[in-house]
């Protein structure tokens, strides 16, 4: 997946083991790979089962069969015709794209200041960011909801997108951790050349921080795409603003018997993320390792 996680390949120069040890090693090798293969089956089964269900007729999808008698890929465009899926999809894309763009624009400068500028109260501010990141969103849900209701913005995605203009704690944290890995000498050189801080950020730091920004952007995009609590809270009253997750959760009642369509929609909801992942594995895994601990 990425260089960070590829190591431990160098064999040690050791005296050649005797036959008994070699046999034991081979058995261990087989055992380990068998476990890995069994686990692979377990990890793949849920998605494979969904895909198979989504290709059945609606009658067969109600049975305990797991292999389609006849294949119905047309379920995938039928679900666009007979359900409001296109609408949900559009809302989700709008939410995820706008929120990600705005969050990056507002978080990168803040992360840069926290990582590379010296100012009074920096530690206190960073601690506050961590607290915001760690605390469950439910703590401030009611007052926030009342605030948005006062401005008449509930029933839309605005309460989820507008805050993106003002940074996101997790995104700031992740970017700061990444920016710390950029040696300050580069920045000092730029400053000596007469660059102001903003120019230094745009010309020197941004190009070097691309992997970190990519990771932060991916996380934000995925978060929005998967978000259920937010849209449930703010848009359940207005179906016009529903996102995919909300639609999926309610499909079951509206299209109660059409499991094949429900599963087709479910597969469609996960497919984009998996495709994006394969194009951006590196940035992704690097981002995850950055979120953890350090020593």
């Amino acid at each position: 997946m990425t260089a960070v996680l590829d190591r431990r390949a160098k064999p040690l120069a050791r005296p050649a083991p005797d036959r008994r040890v070699r046999r034991q090693n081979r058995l261990a090798w087989i055992a380990r790979h068998s476990i890995a293969i069994a686990l692979t089956v377990m990890f793949v089964t849920p998605v494979a089962y969904l895909v198979l269900l989504s290709l059945m007729t609606s009658d067969q999808a109600l049975t305990s069969d797991y292999w389609p008698n006849s294949w119905h890929p047309e379920n995938y465009w039928r679900v666009f015709e007979v359900t409001p899926l296109p609408h949900y999809l559009l809302n989700t894309v709008f939410y995820a794209v706008s929120s990600t763009t705005l969050v990056l624009l507002s978080s990168v400068p803040a992360a840069y200041a926290l990582a590379k500028l010296k100012f009074r109260g920096r530690n206190a501010l960073f601690l506050t960011v961590i607290c915001v990141m760690m605390l469950p969103p439910q703590v401030v849900t009611v007052p926030l909801y009342l605030m948005w209701a006062r401005y008449g913005l509930t029933g839309s995605l605005a309460p989820l997108i507008i805050p993106a203009l003002f940074g996101d704690a997790f995104c700031i944290f992740l970017l700061r951790q990444f920016l710390l890995t950029i040696p300050s000498e580069y920045l000092d050189a730029a400053r000596v050349d007469g660059c102001g801080e903003w120019r230094t950020l745009l010309r020197v730091v941004l190009p070097m921080a691309r992997p970190g920004i990519a990771a932060a952007g991916l996380f934000q995009f995925f978060y929005c795409w998967n978000d259920y609590y937010g849209p449930l809270l703010y848009t359940s009253e207005n179906e016009g603003a529903w996102t995919l997750t909300l639609g999926l959760a309610s499909f079951h009642s509206v299209h109660h018997v059409d499991w094949n369509l429900v599963t087709a929609a479910t597969v469609l909801a996960m497919a984009p993320l998996i495709i994006i992942f394969f194009f951006a594995q590196r940035a992704f895994v690097q981002g995850i390792t950055l979120t953890g601990f350090k020593g």
Partner: protein, 312 residues
């Protein structure tokens, strides 16, 4: 540092402020203001139509005998005690396995990771279908090998374990974090131990575990925090397994189905606030959540170096 002229200092501060302004406004408007409001509201009684009326400690007293609160706290505690450790052990196990594989490690790593990408709502739907007592393939398979499968999401005893299975399936993020930790253990330590004749089990306990202890702490703390806000999967599993999803999720009468076994603390908070519109009481519940989550966050902040403000 030599003292700089006042003009330069002011300009520098202005620049710094220009970097931070959006985030500062964000923290003030979307965190501090609602947090302070929540504290105030927790001492009042009101709904969406009425004005907050001061009631002192009434909301907190009400928490003392609220059977639904008790049930939701029990469920959330169960998740903290079972869900979090099981996930950590599984993630360590998977990462150890991956480091031992000489062939195809990259392939297996990707496969094990992928489910973490599936939207929780979609994953929950998949698991409810997979574990359907009557027609689901899992019970079908169990029947074939002579086991009478449980009712999974439809059984009060098995609904939470089913959620744990779901959490194990989507373990990818945690696995990657542990994998990076396990790979960070210096090879020389293992070699030295091997020369001393320590077997694999011994090496794991005396070298790997102590070295990745900070990662375990991190995983435990973030895991508990995650469990405290566990909402999506519980809400969706309840409503879909009950077979009568309320449109949009809305305020589902089937929250917690079956028999309240998946009724977590956030579900109760949500129901009180947006189902019953008992907004004062909902804020008191939020305060309790705040105190617990803050306490746990402080544990992490005091221990992990990465979280201290120092440049590493």
């Amino acid at each position: 540092m030599t003292a700089k002229p006042l003009g330069v200092r002011v300009r520098q501060n202005a620049t710094t402020l220009s970097f931070l302004a959006p985030a500062l406004i964000g923290i003030a408007v979307f965190f501090l203001y609602p947090l302070v409001s929540a504290v105030y509201f927790s001492f009042t009684k009101f709904d969406l139509l009425s004005v907050p009326k001061w009631v002192g400690l009434d909301n907190y007293k009400r928490m003392a005998d609220d059977p639904f609160l008790l049930q939701s706290v029990r469920n959330t505690l169960w998740m903290v005690v079972v869900f979090v450790p099981v996930r950590i052990v599984a993630a360590i196990g998977l990462s150890m396995l991956l480091t031992q594989l000489k062939r195809g490690a990259g392939f297996f790593r990707t496969i094990f990771y992928l489910p973490a990408l599936v939207p929780p709502v979609a994953a929950t739907i998949a698991f409810v279908y997979l574990l359907k007592p009557g027609t689901g393939p899992v019970n079908h398979f169990l029947e074939k090998i002579g086991i009478d499968g449980p009712l999974w999401f439809n059984s009060p005893a098995w609904a939470k374990p089913s959620l744990v299975l779901l959490g194990l399936w989507a373990i990818g993020d945690l696995m990657i974090i542990f994998l990076a930790g396990v790979l960070g253990v210096p090879e020389s330590l293992y070699e030295a131990a091997e020369l001393d004749g320590a077997n694999a089990w011994h090496r794991f306990w005396s070298i790997t575990v102590p070295t990745i202890r900070p990662v375990i702490l991190f995983a435990a703390v973030t895991g508990v925090i995650y469990t405290l806000q566990y909402f999506d999967q519980a809400a969706v599993a309840g409503s879909i397994a009950s077979g009568q999803a309320t449109v949009g999720g809305g305020i589902a009468s089937n929250f917690g189905y079956p028999e309240g076994s998946t009724f977590t603390y956030p579900l109760w908070l949500y129901t009180v606030g947006f189902g019953y519109h008992a907004l004062g009481y909902a804020n008191a519940l939020a305060m309790a959540l705040f105190v617990v989550a803050l306490g746990i966050t402080v544990i992490l902040l005091r221990r992990a170096k990465a979280f201290s403000g120092e440049e590493s």
